[in-house]
Symmetry: C2
Subunit: 130 residues, 2 copies
């Protein structure tokens, strides 16, 4: 699973993301308590995240292993704000992602990401309506 994930991130073929997700995938955002459910909604959220995060400064620099799961630590910089966070990814025996959880620090970075993601999701939703 992780190889597929890293290959997608490096190739920036992020429109492939839904092929990596289980139908019943759940996403836990760093901002909102209520989880985001299902392949369609999670794909849209992750696509918005890729547009926001993969700005040329993003990199994964540490990895931790669990059972069918991993924590990937990342850092990036947006408009001079240093952002540090983790993706906590869980997958099933078919190698499809069942849970994706994101946490971000520090406070200023979470605010920045919240603003950028809100704007990006609004853009994607407008495109979907057209």
């Amino acid at each position: 699973m992780l190889n597929n994930w890293h290959t997608m991130i490096k190739s920036k073929q992020v429109d492939q993301v839904s092929t990596l997700l289980a139908d019943n995938v759940t996403l836990f955002s760093p901002v909102i308590h209520t989880p985001i459910q299902g392949k369609k909604m999670v794909s849209m959220y992750l696509t918005a995240a890729f547009h926001t995060f993969l700005n040329g400064t993003f990199n994964y620099h540490r990895e931790f292993s669990g059972d069918n799961s991993a924590v990937l630590e990342f850092s990036l910089n947006i408009q001079g704000i240093e952002i540090n966070g983790i993706d906590m990814i869980t997958w099933n025996d078919e190698n499809k992602i069942t849970e994706f959880k994101v946490m971000i620090r520090p406070y200023k970075a979470l605010n920045m990401i919240n603003d950028q993601m809100t704007a990006m999701l609004a853009t994607l939703q407008q495109q979907a309506v057209k």
Copy 2:
């Protein structure tokens, strides 16, 4: 290292925390970008964190392994707010913690923790001055 950490948390003998820290330990808070340096300052910060977090609802429920390091996921509840986060702990060959990083989600929980920690650190600093 992790066994010592879990034993301390379970026994609530959190005044022992400095014995688990390397002299040059660095703490990365979920709120502030600038790291907190050195055993004395990090001990004070972690003591405040224990007073804030270990309220009877705190528990570690997932663990991820790295090289001389681990990610421990935790959850707790303060005044009805559900708080989810990680401790990312790194230690040296002498089994002393060299880096301690905390991330918290969602937004509302980070606000809650920030308020509580600010109040607790003020109390501890007043006690230290007396």
